[in-house]
């Protein structure tokens, strides 16, 4: 057992030394793998962040009811009363047209344009928070309100979130396809690196076979190399993603501030990070294994 550990440690050190003997090409290889992995992984994380935002929005559905411009004050009050008494409605907020216009002036900075208007183009509105969150029931509620008199337009605010959700699913599928393709690229990179190594180590492999090395012994340093190269590539991808997301979050916070939202992109969690590292290490190992299986038998001592 101890000898086994020692020989594996020996191989690991030997592999590290092999990295250091060709620092530039090792570095470039690792960088290529890192960039290739950071693309799908980074895009996946960004989509996940947007998805959780969409889920939040769906979680607290909101129905905005815009009244007709010709509704009298009594009619407006009547509708408000009806809404408050409605069994499916939790909370009702009245937004008078003057207040809506004021808000629009303040938040959009379109004061000049709005000031030039002859009359207020905005209707009175009620923002309601239903008790139910089921998508179909919400749509039923919307259709019910639509039929009421003096109601111009009813907007179910979770609808955009559901559309977004569908688009995100499409996006995630695209990222998955990209990830699969780039995984093949990673395997190919490792395959080729190991092929070149086998060619340059030809003599050593031949002599080792003559002296009584098992195939496992000859394979081991190459597999370690592939594994380590994949792992370092994965770590590089992790750094690329983390740094990029932090930069994006910085500029995003300025943007979301304008929308009074606190949306940020999630950094990779411990789970995400370990999956990234394990996967990249495995793909590196797989590329090395395929390469060794393909090339080692060709070297037989004569």
């Amino acid at each position: 057992m101890k000898n086994w550990l020692v020989s594996h440690t020996h191989v690991l050190l030997f592999t590290l030394r092999r990295f250091l003997t060709t620092p530039l090409s090792s570095l470039l290889n690792i960088l290529v793998i890192g960039i290739a992995l950071s693309l799908p992984a980074g895009m996946y994380l960004m989509l996940k962040s947007v998805q959780s935002l969409a889920e939040q929005a769906v979680g607290t559905p909101q129905i905005s009811i815009f009244l007709s411009m010709d509704a009298s004050n009594d009619e407006v009050a009547h509708i408000g009363k009806q809404l408050k008494q409605h069994a499916s409605i939790n909370q009702v907020k009245f937004v008078p047209r003057d207040q809506a216009l004021e808000q629009l002036k303040q938040t959009t900075g379109l004061a000049d344009v709005i000031g030039g208007l002859a009359q207020n183009p905005l209707p009175d509105a009620y923002v309601t928070y239903p008790k139910i969150s089921d998508a179909q029931a919400l749509e039923g509620l919307r259709d019910e309100f639509k039929k009421w008199p003096k109601i111009e337009y009813v907007q179910l605010d979770s609808a955009w979130a559901r559309k977004l959700g569908a688009m995100l699913k499409f996006g995630l599928l695209a990222v998955l396809i990209l990830a699969v393709l780039l995984s093949f690229a990673l395997i190919a990179i490792t395959f080729n690196t190991i092929r070149l190594q086998i060619l340059t180590q030809r003599e050593e492999i031949e002599v080792s076979k003559l002296i009584g090395a098992t195939n496992a012994f000859i394979r081991r340093p190459f597999l370690y190399f592939g594994l380590l190269q994949g792992l370092l590539g994965g770590a590089t991808a992790w750094f690329i993603i983390t740094i990029s997301l932090r930069l994006l979050n910085n500029s995003l916070s300025e943007l979301t501030h304008l929308y009074a939202s606190s949306f940020t992109l999630h950094l990779p969690s411990i789970g995400d990070s370990s999956i990234l590292l394990l996967l990249s290490a495995y793909l590196g190992w797989l590329g090395a294994w395929l390469s060794v299986a393909q090339h080692l038998w060709q070297i037989e001592p004569r």
């Binding site: 101890k2 000898n3 086994w4 020692v6 020989s7 020996h10 003599e203 050593e204 031949e206 002599v207 080792s208 076979k209 003559l210 002296i211 009584g212 090395a213 098992t214 012994f217 001592p301 004569r302």
Partner: protein
Amino acid sequence: MIQFSQICKRYPGGYEALKNVSFEIAEGEMIFLTGHSGAGKSTLLKLIAAIERPSSGSIVVKGQNVSSIQSGALPYLRRNLGLIFQDHKILFDRSVFDNVMLPLRICGFDHRESAKRVQAALDKVGLLKRQKNNPIGLSGGEQQRLCIARAIVNRPSILLADEPTGNLDKDYASDIMGIFKSFHQVGVTLLISSHDENVLRQFKGRVLALKNGELCP
């Protein structure tokens, strides 16, 4: 120890290197294999180490049938053999010490124990002072001795040497023959091939002579 029964070796293309060769070598014997160049000496040695397979016949080494050995068992057969090659097969990307270390690393020996063994083997062939050097700086005779050190570091019971004195002058050659004799004295079975008449003359023991792939009676 080594037993050949009616061995034929035909290479692809029809060239017949060995024709119906049978002999037996007992444990601890020191045998000299002679013959002109191309007589099949190298082929015979390669068959023992299963570097080549015979076209027909059977070879038994230490009770194991080599002619039909599984490729998985091959490494363990070779660990019992010390091979000394005509072209040395020394690795020039590492020191003299590391070259001799290779067989022990392959067998998974304890590191400290193997360092001692390597130094003992290098001392035996007179290269201990050069252990840290790169073998590229060694002379032909020294490279040959390095190859011997690598072959014996594993303490094999059988030593196969292919033209060990091939390109060496007389003094070097008798040096190396002296080393072989000392192994013979501690009970190692040796099979040494050579076409060198001088070496043959100072050698006492059984001689196997090959001629055009056939064993001369």
